[in-house]
């Protein structure tokens, strides 16, 4: 099987590679449209969404990435979730529109509001507590009908399953627990 790709334009792509290894998957870094053709699924990491967006446009990766997402699974964390969303605010910006949700950037505040919390997971993850690292995190303001909320923090969805795609506003790649990455690896293998 093809490996899982990690978009490596900017951000914590290296932490995702390690997390995928903990979940038992091979991964490669993706920086070009050609490299996108050789992966079975893709992780869009945390980082700055404005920087990634700039490079996606500059390097003509935006459309190839959207087409990839119409066929193959993508897991977006934080900035990755912002890029996947259909609607972005604070400020408004372009996005891939691959999942039906509205998301607000830096919605908890600045770095001083970043935190590590423990979440009681719902649905598919019952009985498991998840550690969640939030870094200048966005808040999902609306989830469309195709989304199933797997975990919430202070009432807001933070981990959402969109069938093919998976989004998290926190950083499971910064925790030793491979649960969330394993979910994504299983879905790529299906």
């Amino acid at each position: 099987m093809k490996p899982i790709g990690v978009l490596a334009l900017q951000g914590d792509f290296e932490a995702h590679q390690k997390a995928l290894a903990r979940a038992g998957a091979d991964s490669v870094l993706v920086r070009t449209a050609a490299e996108l053709q050789n992966v079975a699924g893709l992780v869009i990491p945390g980082g700055e969404s404005t920087t990634m967006l700039k490079l996606l446009r500059l390097e003509n990766l935006f459309e190839p990435l959207r087409e990839f997402g119409q066929q193959r699974p993508i897991f977006g964390t934080c900035a990755g979730a912002i890029l996947l969303a259909s609607e972005v605010s604070s400020p408004q910006q372009e996005s891939l529109g691959l999942v039906d949700m509205a998301i607000e950037r830096n919605a908890y505040g600045r770095q001083l509001d970043s935190r590590v919390v423990r979440l009681a997971a719902e649905d598919g993850l019952t009985g498991k507590e998840l550690e969640a690292v939030f870094i200048r995190a966005p808040i999902i303001r609306r989830v469309g009908e195709t989304g199933r909320v797997l975990a919430r923090y202070l009432g807001d969805p933070v981990l959402v399953d969109f069938g093919r795609h998976l989004v998290a506003t926190f950083h499971p790649e910064l925790t030793p627990d491979p649960t969330v990455h394993r979910m994504f690896v299983d879905r790529v293998a299906r």
Partner: protein, 295 residues
């Protein structure tokens, strides 16, 4: 030991998010917007860029609050600001302002010639400069959540940043082959805590992200320090002291991503206009060097 507690993980977490990116020095909101539009992953607010500090002399302090606030309001990316070495009250004020990172920086005039800020007492994360592994580990022991090479700020000359990143990487490699008792002696030589020295020996890297700063003026310079092991770059005077800051900012962002791809680096290096004028560091008297500040 608090290196791995939750507060520290959150501090290092933001540094993780900046990897592969370019942090640009800006002195006003207009420059901050140019930097953000060019793809900067963060901006550093300061009163004067290092090359002007070098030229004009005088005491270089924390930037005026109104300027920093304007910059924070103008962009959605993280905003860092510099405090003087040892000036924990400038740092407290920047923390109250809620900047995202504080650079306890040798570019500003030191406030204390013996002590650095006890960065563990703060909730806001700190980045500090280092020329070698001992300096890096002392700063981490004080609570720095990110290390950058000092290089020679405002020189437009990459030679010092190269020296510093090579030194740090080499000293890390050397630790990995030493025995337990040798590490004790090494900790003494490095003037760094043994537990940190042991951690580095075991993991073959610093416990916090390792970025590069001080003299980066071209896409090729950025790619060079990334090749040598830097995980992201800071560009100070290199952008806004060049002929075409927008084009150069975009090009250095591209170079930080594609540092392994000479064809992309060639594209990034075309049509940039003139780089900032550079200084020959080897002809510089030690009293004019910024990198020797810090203890």
């Amino acid at each position: 030991m608090n290196y791995l507690d939750e507060t520290f993980r959150v501090k290092v977490g933001l540094a993780e998010m900046l990897k592969g990116g370019v942090i640009m020095d800006v002195t006003n909101a207009e420059q901050a917007v140019i930097a953000e539009k060019a793809g900067a992953c963060a901006v550093m607010a300061l009163e004067r860029v290092p090359s002007d500090i070098r030229k004009e002399g005088g005491v270089a302090r924390m930037a005026p609050i109104r300027k920093i606030r304007e910059i924070m309001e103008a962009v959605s990316i993280p905003v860092m600001a510099k405090a003087r070495i040892g000036h924990f009250m400038e740092a407290r004020i920047l923390e109250a302002l809620e900047v995202d990172y504080i650079d306890e920086s040798e570019v500003l005039t030191p406030a204390d010639e013996e002590h650095h800020i006890d960065k563990r007492q703060f909730k806001v994360p700190f980045v500090c400069g280092a020329r070698n592994l001992g300096e890096a580990l002392r700063r981490i022991a004080e609570g720095a959540a990110m290390i950058r090479t000092k290089g020679e700020a405002g020189s437009g000359n990459i030679v010092e940043a190269v020296r510093h990143i090579r030194t740090i990487v080499k000293e890390i490699k050397q630790l990995t082959v030493l025995g337990k008792e040798e590490l004790v002696a090494e900790a003494k030589r490095l003037q760094a805590p043994l537990e940190l020295v042991e951690w580095v020996a075991q993991n073959g890297k610093l416990p916090v992200p390792n970025f590069s700063a001080g003299g980066i003026a071209t896409p090729a310079d950025a790619a060079l320090v990334m090749q040598l092991g830097a995980e992201a770059v800071f560009v100070g005077s290199g952008i806004f002291k060049s002929e075409d800051p927008e084009a150069r900012a975009r090009a250095i962002v591209k170079a930080a991503t594609y540092y392994n791809d000479p064809v992309k680096l060639l594209e990034a290096s075309e049509d940039l206009g003139m780089a900032m004028p550079g200084l020959d560091v080897s002809k510089m008297p030690e009293s004019e060097m910024l990198q020797t500040r810090g203890w």
